[in-house]
Symmetry: C2
Subunit: 555 residues, 2 copies
DNA sequence: CATTTTCGCACCTACGTGGAAATC
DNA sequence: CGGATTTCCACGTAGGTGCGAAAA
């Protein structure tokens, strides 16, 4: 079951994970980011239903979206996504955040499932890239989760943020991602609030929750509330479930945070790996124009217009939430005659027989096996799991990445670079579909308060706040330092391309944090497939939550 | 000031109002519709942000829109618009609705303004037509109102329904609308709930509230929550403002209902009056394809793509609410170089210099004068007011319309039929911009409860409930009977084309109902322009509310 | 020079228009 | 037959794609 190969997976040697993709902290005490992660003020307040540009003069540096405002917070300014942190909070704020234990905050009843896991896995196995532009770009695949265990009668706010995975800057060289230096300072993390928020538990339970309106930007001065990322850096999206009637009653202690290994990505301004490009074209309905006609790309004009029945697009344009039915709004290979409303998940390569052609074999990923200690059961489309070092090193240095050009350099055809990013955790081995457990003392884990009602947080803040370089303040753990290829810089070695290997410590059940500590955001539950015996690959079934002790570089 | 002429207004003789357009009841006691107007169950519950087709199997005969559901009402099923009434309510329900006095229900502090009044007036002067289709068609112009007097900290729900104006069926013959018979039974009235609902008063006050997502259909079995209308029938849209935290706490006694004379229309499946067609083409951005290029219609292909700067479209696609800025989302003559974000109202014919060409003179309406007892002040673009009979007849027969083919038969060029519908009230003269006062005893006015929490109302209901023919049960008043042209049927004479004339009883201040009675829905406040001295024609300024005693055929 | 970013573009989806022909 | 309705269509808006050249 440790197989990681795939025909197109390009070079079995690449099975070793050069990229630490999942920063589940394995260190015992994570004080790092104490300074960075502290209270973050809710500056803009979205609760609007979409990501409208809304270029206007607003208070707090965010557009006041005129849309739905059930909480009547318009006076605070609005945006689809939360603004950055005005600055590091005071220590008093800091202390506030450290109160409580994890047991308090985490709702054990909550279950979250990555709905379009298969599609994410496809990308992840190749090294997901996400375009970031000045005006903002959506993610593809989209974050789409199913929820369980919510109180139907309570109200919840769902949020997403995206946190850096390491402190390295990357470049795509010779069909693989290599570290080129230390990370740029990260902009203040912004929160994307699901437009439905707040909504009752019954509402969230009704159908998968999608975040397709979320947009990424590289514009540090973005005024549209988009999430600001640095190009050529690795990131991890996280989902937060907060039981609260409104934004102001959100308590940091009530944050339930989850992350999926498959959803890590590198932000880019232009695609580097052609396989990723092709995967996007094949699955993103908006990129249909670039699909092959059966004879070489680019003459889409000859394709019969609406051959059978497009319909896979199920975006709810109006509120940007769920797809109308249960159609996946991320992928969906269309052009297939009757796949409308078939509720079929996108990620099944079986269904994409429509135009998989020359450069992207359909069976690309289907030959990859899931290498997990649990059984994936009768998975029709085996989950692709990237390899990563054992979660072993729990010393202060495990977060360090070393560039290893000699490892897994089995480059393939240029069109298909070595898959080296697929859900790997450089720090804690066994990520991907493996639980990120954190056998560390997290009592002092730095955390962040994504939303506060501090009035001072409402002040407009120019995006480029130097004090926001989140990782710069961390001592060592979790924030790996980088060693450039060929160079040897003390304190800056990023362990890349570690040999793949499975850790038996990964189980498929919920793993409680050894020492319950800070309940809220600093801890992040990584989701993984359960003992998936015989569940449909199209619907991520039961999952178990593992507290990954992911202090979340503030994000 | 009683002038009603206009070059294109076609035939001064047409100044007499053949169509009773505004059914402000003048009868002393309005018992009619007692049976019809009673409690209506909230069956579907929208609160979603859009009008997605969402063709699926849903409970209650309405699509369960997955979108925003702040009230957690998902278990009751959803739709953008309220479903019909399951059936006529019991008498107990009826009685419930009759309780209270108007003084209780009506919030005297509330002020509502038709934002795009000028555009509406243009259409109204020609006889507004609204296309209805099986799949649902938006209204154009859109209902767009400005609110004042709301409590910023209270929550409100805004709704719209559309009620029949009379009991006649019409046809367009010889460039004018004539009665052809008795009305078809009306489908159960549906409520369109503004997607922002519920929202704080501050939210609603922020900017004009538009209902552009509202759709009309002629499909009696519509499952999309669209408002069902009969073709060739006259209707009056109404706006309801309800202070409530959620749909279930909405009390019928808290309904504040308003109607604007200018917004009456005849539902059609295809445009009858070419002037209306041209007006739609000229002002609806989505119909740009049909605008002239300067040389004859239909060769839009030669128009430079995006000549200056399209931008007038300001729909908020995401939540379907307000336009981003304050742009009007109804009209807006674009193609003009710099009218972007100029907040200019659409209806100024001055601004439409872009492509007004052969068949629709720009000055078409500008020559029409407002005939109101008050002064319209320095109105740049004079409001067009149609003439109507004095509000005189308050007997039980004033609601009857007679077809008068001899009157105002000054037909014009076929392209421009006689304008005979513009905001006319066949029953109560002086409608249009004149207050609809109801010096009648409304203590027994039948009303309807648009929303109830009765569990039985949640049952699915096939659209065609025979018991829903609202008007069939009314005795006489308010539900006029019709006399077909040339025929004389006792009890069925519809007074059409009554000579225009102004009633001195119309003032421009709020006119309290003589006898405060049923507070809620049966009464409807008609809006009119205030002593508009020198306000911009683009922004409907102060208005006074007149209770028009509009029992609202249940709508 | 190599790498990264930006910009306009053609091509899509989605859907709102009225026209015109077909249908009822 | 004639009016009313339906259906399909071209043509708009709005905006999400990757491409490729240009710029940084």
């Amino acid at each position: 079951m440790l197989l990681l190969q795939g025909n197109n997976y390009s070079g079995g040697g690449s099975s070793t994970n050069p990229n630490s993709y999942s920063s589940s902290s394995t260190h015992s005490t994570s004080h790092m980011y104490e300074e960075d992660l502290i209270s973050r003020g809710a500056r803009g307040f979205p609760l609007s239903h979409g990501m409208l540009p809304a270029p206007q003069a607003y208070s707090f540096g965010f557009p006041v979206h005129p849309a739905h405002d059930p909480m009547g917070l318009s006076s605070f300014g609005q945006s689809q996504q939360f603004g950055g942190y005005p600055s590091f909070s005071s220590h008093s704020d800091h202390k506030r955040m450290l109160g409580g234990t994890q047991g308090e905050a985490m709702d054990k009843n909550l279950k979250i499932t990555l709905e379009n896991r298969d599609l994410w896995t496809k990308f992840s196995s190749l090294g997901t890239e996400m375009i970031i532009t000045k005006t903002g770009r959506r993610m593809f695949p989209t974050l789409k989760v199913g929820l369980e265990g919510l109180d139907p009668h309570s109200k919840y706010i769902l949020l997403v943020d995206i946190v850096p995975l390491d402190d390295c800057r990357y470049k795509y060289h010779n069909s693989e991602w290599v570290v080129t230096g230390k990370a740029e300072p990260h902009m203040p993390g912004r929160l994307y609030i699901h437009p439905d928020s707040p909504a009752s538990g019954s509402h969230w339970l009704k159908q998968p929750v999608t975040f397709h309106k979320l947009k990424l930007t590289n514009n540090n001065l973005d005024q549209n509330g988009h999430i600001i990322l640095n190009s050529m850096h690795k990131y991890q999206p996280r989902v937060h479930i907060v039981q609260a009637n409104d934004i102001f009653s959100m308590r940091w202690t009530s944050f339930n945070t989850y992350a999926f290994d498959e959803t890590t990505f590198i932000a880019v301004t232009a695609y580097q790996n052609e396989q990723i490009t092709q995967l996007k074209i094949d699955h993103n309905p908006f990129a249909k124009g670039f699909r092959d006609n059966g004879m070489g790309r680019r003459d889409h004009r000859l394709t019969l217009k609406r051959p059978a029945d497009d319909s896979i697009i199920d975006f709810d344009k109006d509120d940007g939430n769920f797809s109308k039915k249960q159609k996946n709004d991320d992928d969906t290979i269309d052009l297939k005659p009757n796949n409308k409303n078939d509720m079929k998940e996108e990620s099944d390569s079986l269904n994409k027989s429509d135009r998989s052609s020359d450069d992207l074999p359909e069976t690309d990923l289907s030959q990859c096996h899931v290498n997990k200690s649990g059984s994936t059961g009768g998975m029709h489309l085996p989950l692709v799991k990237a390899k990563s070092p054992p979660l072993a090193p729990q010393s202060g240095n495990q977060g360090v990445c070393n560039y290893n050009s000699s490892l897994s350099n089995s480059s393939l055809s240029k069109g298909y670079g070595t898959a080296c990013m697929g859900g790997l955790n450089g720090v804690n081995g066994d990520q991907s579909y493996y639980p990120h457990h954190s056998p560390v003392d997290r009592s002092n884990t730095s955390s962040f308060l994504p939303v506060t009602t501090s009035p001072n947080l409402l002040q407009p803040q120019s995006a480029v706040s130097s004090s926001l370089s989140l990782h710069s303040l961390s001592s060592m753990n979790q924030m790996q330092q980088c060693r450039l290829p060929g160079t040897s810089i003390s304190n800056t070695d990023c362990a890349l391309r570690q040999t793949s290997h499975l850790s038996s410590t990964s189980n498929y059940g919920l793993r409680a944090s050894p020492t319950p500590q800070h309940p809220s955001l600093p801890s992040c539950t990584y989701m993984q497939t359960t003992q998936g015996t015989g569940y449909s690959p199209h619907l991520a079934p039961n999952v178990h939550m593992m507290n990954m002790n992911f202090p979340g570089p503030m994000a």
